[in-house]
């Protein structure tokens, strides 16, 4: 599965994207954030305040309780500031 990071999530994680094999027990976006936060200092820092982090599955906004199911691409990023 491909993970993408944007803005300060990307800066904290230290990379823009990565391919990752997820443990089978991770079923939701929120569970994925919990798991990522335990992967090391930079991830713990990036995901320290999970409430403000937004996620998208296959380029559509999702909530933490959304199941990952057959996602090909999951992105994490701060609240948007476009326009």
């Amino acid at each position: 599965m491909k993970l993408l990071y944007f803005a300060w999530v990307r800066e904290r994680v230290g990379k823009a994207d990565e391919d990752i094999a997820l443990p089978a027990e991770i079923r939701t976006v929120g569970e994925l954030m919990d798991w990522l936060a335990g992967r090391g200092e930079e991830y713990a820092y990036a995901f320290e305040n999970r409430k403000v982090i937004r996620a998208a599955i296959d380029r559509a906004h999702v909530k933490p309780e959304t199941p990952i199911a057959n996602a090909r691409e999951i992105a994490f990023f701060p609240p948007m500031t476009g326009g």
């Binding site: 559509a60 992105a75 476009g82």
Partner: protein, 154 residues
């Protein structure tokens, strides 16, 4: 319905975009154009430059979804959305929204709707430069409130 959505590093010019949207049509009565420009100040501090990061692919799709939503809500004849990314200095164009309708209320409402959603839902992030430092711009609650008004009543 003529829909144009472009993400680009290059500048744009509102005049030709309006002309392109109208083309040879004679049934359009109202065109509303919003141009968002990089400001030299933000919440009390000065800004020397700004870099816009975006999520390629999702940005186009997310904008297209909101253009479709706008078409459902108002009788529109055309919509153009152009959003730049990369580094900009004060005075530079950032975003352009053009809406066309037979009636001005629809054109105004659709342009405001699209801007409110671009601000809060389109995957763009601004990083400001000010006094040698850089910082990510925080999302504004007022922008969230503005976006919410389109769902509150339905």
């Amino acid at each position: 319905m003529t829909v144009t959505i472009r993400l680009q590093r290059e500048d744009f010019d509102a005049g030709p975009e309006i002309a392109r949207l109208v083309g040879a049509r004679t049934d359009i009565g109202a065109i509303v154009t919003f141009s968002g420009i990089c400001r030299d100040h933000e919440a009390g501090h000065s800004v020397t430059a700004m870099t816009l990061e975006h999520y390629p692919g999702m940005a186009e799709e997310e904008i297209a979804r909101h253009v479709e939503e706008a078409q459902k809500r108002w009788p529109l004849q055309g919509v153009t959305v152009i959003h730049r990314y990369g580094r900009m200095v004060p005075g530079d164009n950032i975003v352009l929204v053009v809406t066309a309708s037979a009636h001005r209320d629809a054109a105004f409402a659709a342009a405001e709707f699209l801007m409110d959603y671009l601000k809060t839902r389109a995957p763009f992030w601004k990083r400001e430069e000010h006094g040698g430092a850089t910082s990510w711009v925080d999302a504004k609650e007022t922008d969230d409130d503005a976006a919410r008004r389109w769902t509150a009543a339905t």
